[in-house]
């Protein structure tokens, strides 16, 4: 909605490529973390102090391996993307390689996340 125009759904067809995807995932991941980790802290407080049912309910979902795999993806992506942003902010000479930098980021992220996710899935299939 820049310059007062209503763009609506057309905004999604903007072809920003890898760096735009990184910006979007960084933003979505940040919101996911604030919302769900904040909720987990509240649920834990309520569970620890009052033994409340809703706290236990939220924490059961939060601690499940399915939820942790998704959350771990966002945490890891946010961390790696943040380090890329910090490097590019303090060494602006690298800015012309930022498209390549997002590729390096995926090359680091996929094995780190994939191995952890695989181990979590395998252990869950073994029943614990």
């Amino acid at each position: 909605m820049a310059f007062g125009k209503r763009i609506g759904l057309k905004g999604f067809s903007y072809k920003g490529g890898g760096p735009m995807l990184a910006w979007l995932l960084h933003r979505i991941g940040g919101l996911v973390m604030v919302i769900f980790i904040g909720l987990h802290v509240l649920a834990s407080f309520s569970m620890q102090q009052f033994g409340s049912d809703w706290g236990t309910f939220i924490n059961t979902i939060y601690e499940s391996w399915q939820f942790q795999i998704v959350l771990y993806f966002f945490v890891l992506f946010h961390a790696l993307n943040g380090v890329r942003i910090i490097i590019l902010d303090f060494a602006p000479g690298f800015l012309k390689y930022q498209r390549e930098a997002t590729w390096v980021q995926w090359i680091l992220l996929l094995p780190l996340w994939g191995m952890s996710a695989l181990i979590a899935v395998l252990r869950a299939l073994q029943g614990g």
């Binding site: 909605m1 007062g4 933003r27 940040g30 919101l31 973390m33 604030v34 980790i37 904040g38 802290v41 509240l42 834990s44 407080f45 569970m47 620890q48 102090q49 236990t56 924490n59 059961t60 601690e63 499940s64 391996w65 942790q68 795999i69 959350l71 771990y72 961390a79 943040g82 380090v83 942003i85 910090i86 902010d89 303090f90 952890s116 996710a117 181990i119 979590a120 252990r123 614990g128």
Partner: protein, 140 residues
């Protein structure tokens, strides 16, 4: 829809939080690495799964979760060192996170009256969450 203003240059809230976001981001990565190493040293090495490792890396208190798969490391974690580390993680994570929430929200809602209300609400929420988190750490 209002026009977004270009933030003024110099030493102000936007610059301070820009700097804080970068410094706290690096510190959070560092604290996470310290936490993972600590978790492995305390016995996660032989009994790890992903949810448990994340849980015990960032907040290794036994009674704030439904189930924990590492039964015998409680003594190792319950001391002033790890409690201080957790408080540091919480301070940096919440400040970084709520400032990020402010930045995202102000991209969409930034009329001058709304902005003050938004910032006040986010500050109160931040304060509330910090108190809750420190309480959970100390009460464990």
């Amino acid at each position: 829809m209002h026009m977004r203003t270009v933030p003024s240059r110099g030493f102000n809230l936007d610059y301070l939080m820009w700097l804080f976001t970068r410094i706290s981001g690096l510190l959070l990565v560092l604290l996470a690495i310290v936490g993972v190493i600590g978790a492995f040293l305390m016995g996660a090495r032989t009994q790890v799964d992903l949810p448990t490792l994340i849980r015990w890396t960032f907040f290794p208190n036994p009674n704030h979760v439904v189930n924990s798969d590492i039964p015998d490391v409680t003594q190792g974690w319950a001391n002033a060192y790890w409690q201080t580390m957790q408080m540091l993680i919480f301070f940096f994570a919440f400040t970084h996170g709520f400032n990020g929430l402010r930045v995202v929200l102000e991209d969409y809602l930034g009329a001058p009256g709304v902005k003050f209300l938004l910032r006040s609400l986010i500050f109160l929420l931040w304060l509330f969450m910090m108190i809750i988190a420190v309480f959970v750490i100390l009460a464990s």
